[in-house]
């Protein structure tokens, strides 16, 4: 493949060169086991400690012991949710939302089958939760609330502090899936009412196969993977040292670049989004533009289908995602867009472009140049083309 314009960073990211440099020695010379009694392993143990500190610093955790390394975001989500439920066996109610990643959604559905009462909160047309509905859902029987920090498809950011406070006032535990938020927006967990928080390395320029779970000091915890005493007995399995070191390095880098994410990257995203809205008639942004990750835009083009857009973009080396039925792996459009009530005419034609600090203005300009032509071409093929014209005419008569 020739030159690639990678705008699918909510799916996964490139490993930062500095991160690769940091992890390589642990794949080569420094292969010791951090639990060993010899100096050769002990050195490696120090590297793990340092990485834990780097993750804690990015999150603003009180102490590094609040960080547990896992294999991925999904494992962090499962661990936190099951831990909170198992710690309070008398409570049988779990509250989450309809727009969660499958890592939480599918677990919620499973818990429902196992006899839990599970509330899946809806969202409005902009993807925002109704806080009164959330409040009304909380009962004495509620063990845990899990609401994502930011949505992977639309980038919409949820009022985590408000939700956390609502839970805390009622003695309910609170988990947030922050896989998309970490590294993109500043976090300060020591001042946040959050009991558990999940993150995943491959979304912030660390490799795939490493995640972390923040467990607030004092929050109840139950082990998910039983076995050895690694991670202070909270997650068994020999530490994936190279990946852990990589995650630490990625977090340190993210802390350094967090301003850039919210100025430069955001500027590129805004330029891209505004230019596309202006160039393509009948296009809309999915999700609340005011509470959103700085790198994400989810834009829908009426009367065209997302997979077709992606394949034509692929011809130009542009990588993106869509929430259309053909790309969602099912036969229906994305559960997030459906929960928002996005009309089918738009839902099937959604395109998610997610940037990173490695994107350039030239790349953004390239997409602005190619995408409108692609949409026009597909609309020429579409039988609903005329429908659009008729609607416009009909309105003129009124």
């Amino acid at each position: 493949m020739s030159r690639v314009i990678y705008m699918d960073n909510n799916a996964t990211t490139s490993v930062a060169p500095e991160v690769l440099d940091a992890m390589l020695p642990f794949l080569k010379e420094q292969y010791g086991n951090p639990s060993s009694m010899h100096t050769f392993g002990g050195v490696v143990g120090k590297a793990v400690d340092r990485a834990r500190q780097q993750v804690a610093d990015l999150l603003g955790a009180r102490v590094p012991e609040e960080i547990i390394f896992t294999s991925c975001g999904t494992e962090s989500d499962s661990t936190a949710i099951l831990a909170a439920l198992e710690a309070q066996p008398e409570k049988r109610h779990f509250v989450t939302t309809r727009v969660e990643h499958p890592a939480v959604l599918a677990l919620g559905q499973h818990l429902e089958k196992k006899g839990y009462r599970v509330t899946f909160l809806g969202v409005d047309a902009k993807g925002n939760l109704n806080m009164d509905e959330l409040k009304a859902a909380l009962t004495r029987d509620t063990a845990l609330v899990s609401v994502m920090y930011a949505n992977n498809e639309t980038g919409v950011i949820y009022p985590i502090k408000e939700i956390g406070n609502m839970c805390r006032e009622r003695g309910i535990l609170f988990h947030t899936d922050a896989v998309q938020a970490v590294g993109k927006i500043p976090l300060d967990l020591k001042n946040m009412p959050i009991d558990y928080l999940s993150l995943s390395g491959h979304k912030l320029h660390a490799p795939k196969g490493i995640g972390a779970l923040y467990v607030r000091r004092g929050a109840p915890f139950r082990t998910f993977l039983r076995g050895g005493h690694q991670e202070r007995g909270r997650r068994a399995g020999t530490e994936a040292v190279p990946n852990i070191v990589a995650l630490g390095a990625a977090c340190a880098l993210a802390a350094k670049h967090i301003d850039q994410e919210n100025t430069v990257v955001k500027g590129l995203r805004d330029k891209l989004e505004n230019a596309l809205l202006a160039a393509v008639p009948e296009s809309i942004i999915n999700g609340d533009r005011t509470h959103r990750l700085p790198n994400t835009t989810n834009i829908s083009f009426k009367y065209v289908e997302g997979e077709a857009i992606l394949l034509l973009l692929d011809q130009f080396g542009v990588c993106a995602s869509s929430g259309s039925a053909c790309t969602s792996g099912s036969l229906e459009p994305s559960h997030v867009l459906r929960a928002m009530g996005v009309p089918f005419t738009f839902a099937h034609g959604s395109l998610r472009l997610s940037l990173s600090r490695y994107n350039t203005e030239a790349e953004v300009d390239g997409v602005i140049k190619t995408l409108p032509g692609i949409i026009e071409r597909l609309r020429e093929i579409s039988p609903y083309r005329n429908l659009a014209d008729n609607v416009a005419e009909g309105e003129a008569h009124h």
């Binding site: 809806g122 409005d124 047309a125 109704n130 509905e133 009367y303 065209v304 289908e305 997302g306 997979e307 077709a308 394949l311 034509l312 011809q315 259309s324 039925a325 053909c326 099912s330 036969l331 229906e332 459009p333 459906r338 929960a339 009530g341 009309p343 089918f344 005419t345 099937h348 020429e380 093929i381 579409s382 039988p383 609903y384 083309r385 429908l387 609607v391």
Partner: protein
């Protein structure tokens, strides 16, 4: 990423016979915006022979490629020859389709059948009258399922979903599909009879909780009519016109096939009103204006 053949890519990137056809005397429409793919097939027929064909498609790459190659396959054929073109022929002409995409070839075959019926003055979609809707999400009838099973030697529910989409939404109908599959494979004639009023409601998003303003309600009614209700009625050769919205009362008129359809009251109450209630406001009532 789908594993498409070079032929699919070629017919997607450079589709042949795109657009409305001047002088077309037969049109076949299948699918809908709600389902995520739709095909409008134009034929020009002279002396019972297809002399020209073109298409318009809303859908993914394989839907566009299937439509385009279909137009090439049928040009020059007599109507009876064209009717012998099966969805398998369409897929084969493309060098095969990923199994999850076989429904695109089925859509092509159905549009062809609908166009020829249109030319012969027959109702557009025979099966939705003759059959019972099994899958509400995609409006698939038992007859469509049985046809797909027989023509493609399907042996599992998963394959049926790949070919017809039935079962690919909420999955409520999977058991029912399994029963139809079992009966068809066992060679039992006729589908298992469940005398139900066909429930044509598509899968719906629950209404929003916030009260709607009048303008919002009106906009939503109009978009639900355009996006869900009209395409579905069009499939049966009918149409609907919005006459007025008076508070929570929606006045409509049925057009086309629907006017002569004895079950138009069912259409209004069972389908139009229910869909609008599901999608917009549970307090809406729909009334038919006859003029």
């Amino acid at each position: 990423m789908w594993d498409y053949t070079d032929k699919v890519r070629e017919y997607f990137l450079n589709p042949k016979n795109v657009g409305a056809l001047e002088g077309a005397n037969a049109i076949g429409e299948v699918g809908s915006l709600a389902c995520g793919d739709a095909l409008k097939l134009f034929l020009k027929i002279e002396n019972d022979r297809i002399v020209d064909a073109s298409f318009q498609t809303f859908g993914c790459a394989s839907a566009i490629a299937s439509s385009s190659i279909l137009t090439e396959l049928i040009k020059g054929k007599t109507l009876d020859e064209a009717l012998a073109v099966s969805n398998k022929d369409i897929a084969a002409a493309l060098g095969g389709l990923p199994k999850e995409k076989m429904h695109c070839s089925v859509m092509g075959q159905e549009a062809l059948e609908a166009a020829i019926r249109n030319y012969r003055g027959e109702p557009a979609m025979p099966h939705s009258h003759e059959g019972r809707v099994v899958c509400r999400c995609f409006g698939i009838t038992d007859q469509q399922i049985i046809k797909a099973v027989k023509e493609n030697n399907l042996t599992s529910v998963e394959e049926i979903t790949n070919f017809t989409k039935a079962g690919g939404g909420c999955a409520d109908c999977l058991e029912d599909i399994g029963e139809i599959l079992r009966a068809t494979l066992a060679g039992e004639t006729g589908a298992p009879q469940k005398p139900l009023i066909p429930d044509m409601r598509p899968k719906t998003v629950p209404p929003q909780n916030a009260p709607l303003s009048n303008v919002q309600r009106m906009q939503r009614v109009m978009s639900v009519l355009d996006e869900i209700i009209r395409p579905r009625l069009n499939q049966d050769g009918g149409d609907i016109e919005l006459i007025d919205i008076d508070g929570k009362k929606v006045l409509v008129a049925l057009r086309g096939m629907c006017t002569s359809c004895p079950s138009s009251r069912l259409t209004i109450e069972g389908f139009v009103q229910q869909t609008l209630r599901d999608q917009v406001d549970p307090d809406l009532t729909v009334q038919e204006v006859t003029s």
